[in-house]
Symmetry: C2
Subunit: 126 residues, 2 copies
Amino acid sequence: MPPTMAAPPAIKELPEPPGLPEPLPEPAAEDLRLETILGALSDPLRLRIVQKLLLERERFDHPCGWFGIDRPKSSLTHHFKALREAGVIRQRQYGLERRSHVRRTDLDARFPGLLELVAAWTPDAP
Amino acid sequence: MPPTMAAPPAIKELPEPPGLPEPLPEPAAEDLRLETILGALSDPLRLRIVQKLLLERERFDHPCGWFGIDRPKSSLTHHFKALREAGVIRQRQYGLERRSHVRRTDLDARFPGLLELVAAWTPDAP
Protein backbone atom coordinates (compact mmCIF):
# COMPACT_ATOMS: atom_id res chain seq x y z
CA MET A 1 0.00 0.00 0.00
CA PRO A 2 1.38 3.45 -0.83
CA PRO A 3 2.08 5.74 2.10
CA THR A 4 -0.39 8.57 2.56
CA MET A 5 2.35 11.13 1.96
CA ALA A 6 5.47 10.44 -0.10
CA ALA A 7 8.83 11.49 1.31
CA PRO A 8 10.15 14.59 -0.46
CA PRO A 9 12.73 13.78 -3.15
CA ALA A 10 16.34 14.14 -2.01
CA ILE A 11 18.32 17.10 -3.36
CA LYS A 12 21.86 16.01 -4.27
CA GLU A 13 24.76 18.00 -2.87
CA LEU A 14 28.19 17.94 -4.52
CA PRO A 15 31.18 19.96 -3.28
CA GLU A 16 32.61 22.73 -5.47
CA PRO A 17 35.88 21.55 -7.01
CA PRO A 18 38.86 23.92 -6.95
CA GLY A 19 40.02 25.91 -9.98
CA LEU A 20 36.66 26.53 -11.68
CA PRO A 21 36.28 29.30 -14.28
CA GLU A 22 34.66 32.51 -13.03
CA PRO A 23 30.83 32.46 -13.07
CA LEU A 24 29.06 34.32 -15.86
CA PRO A 25 27.35 37.59 -14.80
CA GLU A 26 24.61 37.02 -12.24
CA PRO A 27 22.80 38.89 -9.45
CA ALA A 28 24.49 38.92 -6.03
CA ALA A 29 22.81 36.82 -3.35
CA GLU A 30 21.52 39.93 -1.57
CA ASP A 31 19.94 41.21 -4.79
CA LEU A 32 17.82 38.12 -5.46
CA ARG A 33 14.11 39.01 -5.81
CA LEU A 34 11.36 36.49 -5.11
CA GLU A 35 9.08 37.88 -7.85
CA THR A 36 11.87 37.56 -10.44
CA ILE A 37 12.73 34.00 -9.39
CA LEU A 38 9.08 32.91 -9.42
CA GLY A 39 8.77 34.36 -12.92
CA ALA A 40 11.84 32.48 -14.12
CA LEU A 41 10.42 29.24 -12.70
CA SER A 42 6.89 29.71 -14.10
CA ASP A 43 7.61 27.48 -17.08
CA PRO A 44 7.54 23.66 -17.25
CA LEU A 45 10.80 23.45 -19.21
CA ARG A 46 12.65 25.60 -16.69
CA LEU A 47 11.19 23.65 -13.78
CA ARG A 48 12.39 20.50 -15.50
CA ILE A 49 15.92 21.90 -15.90
CA VAL A 50 16.19 22.99 -12.27
CA GLN A 51 14.58 19.81 -10.94
CA LYS A 52 16.95 17.60 -12.92
CA LEU A 53 19.94 19.57 -11.61
CA LEU A 54 18.64 19.18 -8.06
CA LEU A 55 17.80 15.49 -8.16
CA GLU A 56 20.01 13.90 -10.81
CA ARG A 57 23.28 15.82 -10.94
CA GLU A 58 26.28 13.60 -11.50
CA ARG A 59 28.96 16.29 -11.54
CA PHE A 60 29.34 19.74 -10.06
CA ASP A 61 27.81 21.38 -13.13
CA HIS A 62 26.32 20.17 -16.39
CA PRO A 63 26.19 21.38 -20.03
CA CYS A 64 22.79 21.74 -21.68
CA GLY A 65 23.31 18.54 -23.69
CA TRP A 66 23.19 16.52 -20.45
CA PHE A 67 19.53 17.40 -19.89
CA GLY A 68 18.31 15.47 -22.93
CA ILE A 69 15.79 18.14 -23.87
CA ASP A 70 14.63 18.03 -27.47
CA ARG A 71 14.63 21.75 -28.25
CA PRO A 72 16.74 23.96 -30.53
CA LYS A 73 20.03 25.02 -28.96
CA SER A 74 19.04 28.71 -29.19
CA SER A 75 15.86 28.05 -27.23
CA LEU A 76 17.76 26.16 -24.50
CA THR A 77 20.37 28.92 -24.33
CA HIS A 78 17.57 31.42 -23.76
CA HIS A 79 16.02 29.39 -20.93
CA PHE A 80 19.33 28.81 -19.15
CA LYS A 81 20.16 32.49 -19.44
CA ALA A 82 16.79 33.48 -17.94
CA LEU A 83 17.42 31.16 -15.00
CA ARG A 84 20.91 32.59 -14.52
CA GLU A 85 19.80 36.22 -14.73
CA ALA A 86 17.09 35.58 -12.15
CA GLY A 87 19.71 34.01 -9.85
CA VAL A 88 18.42 30.42 -9.91
CA ILE A 89 21.44 28.83 -11.59
CA ARG A 90 25.13 29.69 -11.86
CA GLN A 91 26.82 29.21 -15.24
CA ARG A 92 30.49 28.90 -16.11
CA GLN A 93 32.19 28.80 -19.48
CA TYR A 94 34.49 25.82 -20.05
CA GLY A 95 36.01 26.45 -23.46
CA LEU A 96 33.11 26.10 -25.89
CA GLU A 97 30.81 24.59 -23.27
CA ARG A 98 28.66 26.38 -20.74
CA ARG A 99 27.76 24.39 -17.62
CA SER A 100 25.14 25.06 -14.96
CA HIS A 101 24.34 24.25 -11.37
CA VAL A 102 21.67 25.51 -8.96
CA ARG A 103 22.62 28.29 -6.51
CA ARG A 104 21.37 26.18 -3.67
CA THR A 105 23.16 27.90 -0.79
CA ASP A 106 21.97 31.36 -1.87
CA LEU A 107 18.40 30.24 -2.56
CA ASP A 108 18.06 28.20 0.64
CA ALA A 109 19.29 31.18 2.67
CA ARG A 110 16.98 33.73 1.04
CA PHE A 111 13.93 31.60 0.16
CA PRO A 112 13.82 28.53 2.38
CA GLY A 113 11.57 25.82 0.96
CA LEU A 114 11.61 27.11 -2.63
CA LEU A 115 13.92 24.43 -4.01
CA GLU A 116 11.97 21.71 -2.21
CA LEU A 117 8.89 22.87 -4.14
CA VAL A 118 10.81 22.55 -7.40
CA ALA A 119 12.17 19.13 -6.38
CA ALA A 120 8.64 17.89 -5.64
CA TRP A 121 7.14 19.29 -8.87
CA THR A 122 5.41 16.79 -11.15
CA PRO A 123 5.09 17.60 -14.85
CA ASP A 124 1.58 17.79 -16.26
CA ALA A 125 0.42 14.64 -18.05
CA PRO A 126 1.34 14.98 -21.75
CA MET B 1 20.28 43.39 19.57
CA PRO B 2 18.32 41.91 16.68
CA PRO B 3 18.20 38.13 16.41
CA THR B 4 20.28 36.62 13.64
CA MET B 5 17.17 35.20 12.01
CA ALA B 6 13.72 36.78 12.32
CA ALA B 7 10.78 34.51 13.12
CA PRO B 8 8.61 33.94 10.04
CA PRO B 9 5.52 36.18 9.99
CA ALA B 10 2.36 34.52 11.28
CA ILE B 11 -0.31 33.60 8.75
CA LYS B 12 -3.78 34.45 10.10
CA GLU B 13 -6.42 31.75 10.05
CA LEU B 14 -10.13 32.61 10.18
CA PRO B 15 -12.92 30.02 10.02
CA GLU B 16 -15.28 29.99 7.04
CA PRO B 17 -18.65 31.41 8.09
CA PRO B 18 -21.81 29.58 7.01
CA GLY B 19 -24.04 30.70 4.15
CA LEU B 20 -21.43 32.19 1.84
CA PRO B 21 -22.17 32.74 -1.87
CA GLU B 22 -20.75 30.14 -4.25
CA PRO B 23 -17.12 30.74 -5.28
CA LEU B 24 -16.47 32.18 -8.73
CA PRO B 25 -15.03 29.70 -11.29
CA GLU B 26 -11.63 28.36 -10.23
CA PRO B 27 -9.41 25.32 -10.77
CA ALA B 28 -10.07 22.30 -8.54
CA ALA B 29 -7.42 21.58 -5.90
CA GLU B 30 -6.17 18.56 -7.83
CA ASP B 31 -5.74 20.65 -10.99
CA LEU B 32 -3.46 23.28 -9.43
CA ARG B 33 -0.19 23.59 -11.35
CA LEU B 34 2.99 24.88 -9.73
CA GLU B 35 4.20 26.63 -12.91
CA THR B 36 0.87 28.49 -13.23
CA ILE B 37 0.87 29.54 -9.59
CA LEU B 38 4.48 30.74 -9.73
CA GLY B 39 3.60 32.77 -12.83
CA ALA B 40 0.62 34.36 -11.09
CA LEU B 41 2.84 35.29 -8.12
CA SER B 42 5.73 36.66 -10.21
CA ASP B 43 4.54 40.24 -9.79
CA PRO B 44 5.13 42.58 -6.82
CA LEU B 45 1.52 43.81 -6.76
CA ARG B 46 0.15 40.26 -6.66
CA LEU B 47 2.63 39.25 -3.98
CA ARG B 48 1.47 42.27 -2.00
CA ILE B 49 -2.20 41.27 -2.38
CA VAL B 50 -1.60 37.69 -1.26
CA GLN B 51 0.76 38.67 1.54
CA LYS B 52 -1.74 41.18 2.94
CA LEU B 53 -4.49 38.58 2.87
CA LEU B 54 -2.21 36.13 4.68
CA LEU B 55 -0.92 38.46 7.37
CA GLU B 56 -3.52 41.19 7.86
CA ARG B 57 -6.93 39.71 7.16
CA GLU B 58 -9.63 41.01 9.48
CA ARG B 59 -12.55 39.08 8.05
CA PHE B 60 -13.01 35.85 6.13
CA ASP B 61 -12.64 37.60 2.78
CA HIS B 62 -11.97 41.14 1.63
CA PRO B 63 -13.02 43.38 -1.28
CA CYS B 64 -10.30 45.01 -3.37
CA GLY B 65 -10.89 48.40 -1.70
CA TRP B 66 -9.58 46.98 1.59
CA PHE B 67 -6.08 46.55 0.16
CA GLY B 68 -5.48 50.29 -0.21
CA ILE B 69 -3.73 49.87 -3.54
CA ASP B 70 -3.62 53.03 -5.66
CA ARG B 71 -4.38 51.52 -9.07
CA PRO B 72 -7.34 51.76 -11.47
CA LYS B 73 -10.16 49.40 -10.59
CA SER B 74 -9.85 47.62 -13.95
CA SER B 75 -6.18 46.88 -13.26
CA LEU B 76 -6.94 45.49 -9.80
CA THR B 77 -9.79 43.38 -11.20
CA HIS B 78 -7.33 41.89 -13.70
CA HIS B 79 -4.78 41.00 -11.02
CA PHE B 80 -7.35 39.42 -8.69
CA LYS B 81 -8.75 37.41 -11.60
CA ALA B 82 -5.28 36.14 -12.54
CA LEU B 83 -4.72 35.02 -8.94
CA ARG B 84 -8.11 33.29 -8.87
CA GLU B 85 -7.65 31.53 -12.22
CA ALA B 86 -4.25 30.23 -11.10
CA GLY B 87 -5.87 28.90 -7.91
CA VAL B 88 -4.15 31.19 -5.40
CA ILE B 89 -7.25 33.02 -4.17
CA ARG B 90 -10.96 32.21 -3.99
CA GLN B 91 -13.43 34.94 -4.91
CA ARG B 92 -17.10 35.28 -4.09
CA GLN B 93 -19.64 37.81 -5.32
CA TYR B 94 -21.55 39.64 -2.56
CA GLY B 95 -24.04 41.80 -4.44
CA LEU B 96 -21.90 44.38 -6.23
CA GLU B 97 -18.79 43.48 -4.28
CA ARG B 98 -16.28 40.73 -5.00
CA ARG B 99 -14.28 39.50 -2.02
CA SER B 100 -11.15 37.37 -1.88
CA HIS B 101 -9.28 35.05 0.44
CA VAL B 102 -6.26 32.78 -0.05
CA ARG B 103 -6.88 29.06 -0.74
CA ARG B 104 -4.59 28.18 2.11
CA THR B 105 -5.76 24.60 2.72
CA ASP B 106 -5.42 23.66 -0.96
CA LEU B 107 -2.06 25.39 -1.41
CA ASP B 108 -0.56 24.03 1.83
CA ALA B 109 -1.58 20.50 0.82
CA ARG B 110 -0.22 20.69 -2.72
CA PHE B 111 2.74 23.06 -2.32
CA PRO B 112 3.91 23.07 1.30
CA GLY B 113 6.04 26.10 2.11
CA LEU B 114 4.82 28.24 -0.79
CA LEU B 115 2.63 30.55 1.28
CA GLU B 116 5.38 30.95 3.88
CA LEU B 117 7.61 32.28 1.08
CA VAL B 118 4.92 34.81 0.17
CA ALA B 119 4.40 35.74 3.82
CA ALA B 120 8.15 36.38 4.24
CA TRP B 121 8.47 38.40 1.00
CA THR B 122 9.84 41.93 1.35
CA PRO B 123 8.99 44.49 -1.34
CA ASP B 124 11.91 46.04 -3.19
CA ALA B 125 12.96 49.46 -1.92
CA PRO B 126 11.09 52.13 -3.92
